[in-house]
Amino acid sequence: MKLIKTALAQGFIRCHDCGYLIKSKVQCLCPVCKSSVSARRHQNLHLTTALIISSFCLYIPANIYPIMAVTELGVTARHTIAGGIMVLIQKDMVPIAILVLVASILVPLMKLLGITLLLLCVHYRWQVNVHLFTRMYRIIAFVGRWSMLDIFMISILVGLVNMGGVANVIAGPAATAFAAVVVLTMFAAKSFDPRLIWDHQLT
């Protein structure tokens, strides 16, 4: 077994905010930036789990209900997220359709499943390919904000196309659910401590 020296094993705790190493084993205040410092954010696992479960619940209405309603010359059409992508494909704008598909369907789903996998891995102390899992965590943390694409697009359309019966776009109930999914998964990724993946590995 290779002996790898983690800061915690040597009696140091790294401050989450400023990176200063504190010689302590218990929760304390960072002398540099005065933030509260603990060795691992274990208690956050509950928080992450709660956030992920709420996101799973909200992901369903976000995909079932219409995310926007488009009125053109008195005719109203309601689009779900998938419906909006189908409209883009029918208009022969496949690259943009793929972009929206990735940003608003695949990325949230991948994030939900990915964080669930990370939580299971930490909880059951699985022996996994740590490099792969760390890379997965990084991708999840990086990619989260790009799901806001659909929300921004709707807010732009709602602001611009606002001409009464002639042409009008209004946001649907799924927009709130989808925005909540994005925000909650971003908080979940932020509250997860990636060092926990490394802690229980024997090699």
Binding site: I4, K5, T6, A7, A9, Q10, F12, R14, D17, C18, G19, Y20, L21, V32, C33, K34, S35, E72, L73, L88, I96, L99, V100, V130, H131, T134, Y137, R138, G144, R145, W146, M148, L149, I151, F152, M153, I154, S155, I156, L157, V158, G159, L160, V161, N162, M163, V166, A167, I170, A171, A175, T176, A179, A180, M186, K190, P194, R195, W198, D199
Partner: protein, 220 residues
């Protein structure tokens, strides 16, 4: 006189204060000797490959200049019309705020607040924080609020989503391009400028360097 004394003291202060004698990787907690990469190089964690630091030459001066430019550009990007749409004889122009206001009028207040925060308010707050932090480090004036500002800068950074908004504009433009006549206003050019400045700022502001400078400044 005071200035030369300060210059003399600078390397001494650096060696006397053992602030960052060791460091640890934030993602795998490996205990490390602090890397001292050259300007322009990057230091990665040897175990997990996390980007530890990325020092730049004149990091503070450049951050100061870029954040000032960003603060100036935010004003026209918010106030001037960005896109004008002409649809079946009706025309309308919109800026960053029109979408937020329309969502408020629809009583979608949660989405409206989220859009307002991530596209208007937090980019402004972040630019302002980067400006005051780099200004204090540039004129070497210690402040009790420096650590507070820096912590908030780090936490709020990912919630300012200018680049995502830009992608949203492109998608909205493609969706409307078939049916409507679209013109871009001066606000959009300011917004693109803001986008570039924001990306350069994120590249220039190395948190490790900034924290070191802040702790040196408060120790003196």
């Amino acid at each position: 006189m005071a200035k030369t004394a300060l210059l003399f003291l600078w390397p001494c202060a650096f060696s006397l204060v053992p602030v960052y004698a060791f460091e640890a990787c934030p993602e795998c907690d490996l205990l490390l000797n602090p890397a001292e990469p050259e300007h322009g190089d990057k230091a990665h964690c040897p175990r997990c490959g996390y980007l530890l630091q990325r020092p730049h030459k004149h990091s503070i001066e450049r951050t100061l200049a870029l954040s000032l430019a960003g603060l100036i550009l935010i004003v026209p990007a918010n106030l001037l019309p960005m896109i004008a749409v002409k649809l079946l004889g009706n025309s309308q122009d919109g800026n960053l705020w029109s979408g937020v206001l329309a969502l408020f009028n629809e009583e979608m207040w949660a989405v409206a607040v989220l859009v307002m925060l991530s596209s208007v308010l937090l980019p402004l707050v972040n630019m302002g924080l980067a400006f005051v932090i780099s200004l204090h480090l540039f004129i070497k004036k210690p402040s009790n609020y420096l650590i507070f500002w820096m912590r908030w800068y780090q936490h709020l950074n990912e919630w300012a989503m200018i680049e995502v908004y830009a992608l949203g504009i492109i998608v909205a433009w493609v969706k409307l391009a078939d049916d409507a006549d679209i013109r871009f206003g001066f606000g959009l050019y300011a917004f693109v400028g803001l986008l570039i400045v924001n990306a350069m700022l994120a590249n220039e502001l190395d948190c490790y360097t900034f924290w070191q400078r802040i702790s040196q400044l408060s120790k003196k």
